[in-house]
């Protein structure tokens, strides 16, 4: 049955068609090709062997797809699905890092405690603000850069590679550099501001300033990557759309607004979702922007994100149960964002049609 459908798929291939049918052992009585007919007078032993081979073939065709996809699902089950569910289970227990096997059932206490913990709300708020001030400029700049890269340019490949280079830097290396650049006393940013006549800013200790600095690292690392994704989508826009827009008297800017941006809508939505997911998981930048002070996200928790808060609870304060509760809360928030995204995209689609 499987092989029959397989040959069906090959038939549009023209010349290959008959040979395939002949070779498909399931079709023993099928309109045979010349080769099969010539070899046909066979003894019972040969027939048995052929029967065996055809059975093996059918088994192979039938089961090998599962064998091919199995590794992914096995690894995912072991290192993705099982931990996911077990995190939920652990979030209902008191578990300490020092003795991860001793679990005491506490019901929803980890969650209720979380909701009355001001540091949780603080981390949630910080995650949100840092997420907004890193994602929004990042995607808007990326869109502009992609538009420029879409022109015919000398050395366009150089620009593309250069723009993508920050993507090759690790969170750790990038953050360490930016810590120096944003240094209060000797940092280059404050020096430049000083040249312009503005006083030095304490980038690490202010709430907004520190969040701005952390966002800068994110924007720096990811804008070029997003620009390339937009560029790819732009190059897939059929040129006659622009042609007819130009014939209708649309300026370049109008073409960008009314042809480019609408055509990119699915891609923009995709990058929004990906960036939002990335923003909720922000961890390395705030951890290392803190210098030696650990996982508190600044002296006053001013840039502690949810990811960092989870790490602090689990691996600094050793409460794995609470860390699990934070993880599940993050997951629920992501699901909410996903649902909101879906609703927004549906509304947008209705608007355009």
């Amino acid at each position: 049955m499987r092989s029959a459908s397989d040959t069906g798929a090959a038939e549009p291939g023209g010349g290959g068609g008959p040979a395939v049918v002949a070779a498909a052992p399931a079709g023993a009585g099928a309109p045979g090709g010349d080769r099969v007919a010539a070899a046909d007078p066979v003894g019972p032993a040969e027939a048995r062997r052929r029967e065996r081979r055809s059975r093996r073939y059918r088994r192979d065709v039938r089961w090998s797809p599962y064998a091919l996809v199995a590794p992914f699902f096995l690894f995912f089950a072991a290192f993705g699905l099982f931990p996911l569910l077990y995190t939920g289970w652990a979030s209902l227990h008191q578990v300490e890092l020092t003795a991860p096997n001793e679990m005491h059932w506490v019901g929803l206490r980890n969650f209720s405690r979380l909701l009355s913990d001001e540091f949780f709300w603080n981390a949630l708020r910080n995650t949100f603000t840092i997420g907004v001030i890193s994602t929004v400029p990042q995607l808007m700049i990326a869109l502009g850069i992609a538009h420029l890269l879409n022109y015919k340019l000398r050395g366009s490949m150089f620009f593309r590679v250069a723009v993508l280079t920050p993507y090759a830097t690790s969170v750790a290396a990038a953050t360490l550099v930016f810590v120096l650049l944003f240094g209060r006393d000797y940092g280059m940013v404050n020096w430049a501001l000083g040249q312009l006549g503005w006083g030095p800013v304490d980038w690490q200790n202010g709430t907004w300033t520190s969040q701005f600095a952390v966002s800068t690292i994110v924007v720096w690392r990811w804008t070029g990557y997003n620009a390339l994704i937009y560029l790819a989508a732009m190059q897939a826009i059929p040129p006659d759309l622009y042609e007819s827009a130009a014939l209708d008297g649309a300026s370049r800017w109008q073409q960008f607004r009314h042809v480019t941006v609408p055509s990119l809508r699915p891609t923009i939505l995709f990058t929004c979702v990906v960036s939002t997911i990335g923003a909720t998981q922000l961890f390395g930048e705030p951890l290392l922007f803190n210098g030696g002070a650990g996982a508190t996200g600044g002296s006053d928790h001013q840039f502690q994100t949810l990811g960092l808060y989870l790490y602090e609870q689990g691996w600094v304060n050793l409460h794995l149960g609470r860390a699990s509760a934070i993880a599940w809360t993050m997951f629920l928030i992501l699901l909410l964002i996903g649902a909101a995204n879906w609703l927004i995209s549906r509304a947008l689609r209705k608007e355009t049609t």
């Binding site: 073939y57 290192f79 099982f82 995190t87 502009g144 022109y151 690790s170 550099v177 390339l228 860390a323």
Partner: protein
């Protein structure tokens, strides 16, 4: 803003050029001066922190604690690199990271090609459901699994050992999807059928037909995965410590937390951790860019 830089495309704007501009409008326009200026500015912004890492790494700690900050290279580069190399164990860390990122890239490419081929070209029950499941797994944040993963790793006494970082990341949903999208077009179904005619088993088809056809995409996926694995941070910092067998990222965290308070040495460490990938970008930048753009359109 960029609209100003380009030739007027609106037919109304210039009588003489009406037919020409209308004809040209659909084609790619040459970038104007402003386009170049903005792009160069953006490029400088992209590259500056990297270059400055090297500048700071070539200076002394005292020089970094002065204003104005240094803009050009000093003479301490090799001294600082040496301190970072020995004190922060960067040599071991680089080797560990290469092993980790290499294994993850190889595993991801291999398993993704197998699964991608099955999803692209074979027929089997629950195929669409399983593919949806693969895509769905991309949505699960890594935070959600670290606690149990850590318990498992601790139970197996794998903490501080590289397999603790390699195994959980050995397959990737993105990779499966990427290979599927590539193979749908790049691998003619007739080719598979022809191999079948010759009596090839599925494994022989995979080895002799799928792998050769998938090679360009495999290279791209391998590079992307390598970059990602090299820079991975969240799980390695939990599973590995500076005292065991750290990856570069974990070792850098140690530097940043002030085990070595010398800023120029920290920058030397950051440089060491970034240099291999920068080198790869110089050599394969074009392919990496192509890979990201390809994945974007099709993903």
């Amino acid at each position: 803003m960029s609209a100003k830089t380009t030739a007027p495309a609106a037919p109304r704007s210039a009588h003489r050029s009406r037919p020409r501009s209308a004809h040209r409008a659909g084609r790619q326009l040459h970038g104007g001066r402003l386009a170049y200026a903005i792009l160069i500015l953006f490029t400088v912004g992209s590259l500056f922190p990297l270059v400055w890492t090297a500048v700071a790494a070539s200076r002394s700690n005292e020089r970094l604690a002065q204003t104005p900050p240094p803009f050009w290279f000093g003479g301490n580069l090799f001294k600082n690199l040496k301190i970072a190399w020995t004190d922060a164990n960067m040599g071991t860390a680089l080797l560990n990271t290469t092993i980790v990122a290499g294994s993850i890239a190889l595993g991801t490419v291999f398993f993704s090609t197998l699964a991608g081929f099955a999803f692209a070209k074979l027929r089997f029950r629950f195929k669409n459901l399983l593919l949806l499941l693969v895509i769905g797994t991309m949505m699960i944040p890594p935070q959600l699994s670290v606690v149990p993963l850590y318990m498992v790793v601790a139970e197996l006494s794998w903490t501080d050992q590289l397999q603790a970082v390699i195994l959980p990341t050995l397959v990737s949903a993105f990779g499966v999807f990427f290979m599927r999208q590539f193979l749908i077009e790049a691998l003619p179904t007739e080719l598979i059928e022809a191999a079948r005619v010759d009596g090839a088993s599925s494994w022989r088809v995979v080895w002799h037909v799928v792998f050769p056809a998938a090679r360009p995409a495999m290279a791209v996926l391998g590079m992307l995965t390598f970059v990602m694995a090299w820079n991975d941070f969240f799980w390695p910092i939990i599973a590995l410590t500076q005292n065991g067998s750290p990856t570069v990222q974990v070792a850098l965290t140690g530097l940043g937390r002030g085990y070595i308070p010398d800023q120029s040495v920290i920058m030397a460490g950051a440089l060491l951790g970034t240099l291999p990938l920068l080198l790869a970008f110089v050599l394969f930048g074009k392919q990496i860019v192509g890979g990201i753009m390809q994945g974007a359109v099709k993903g």
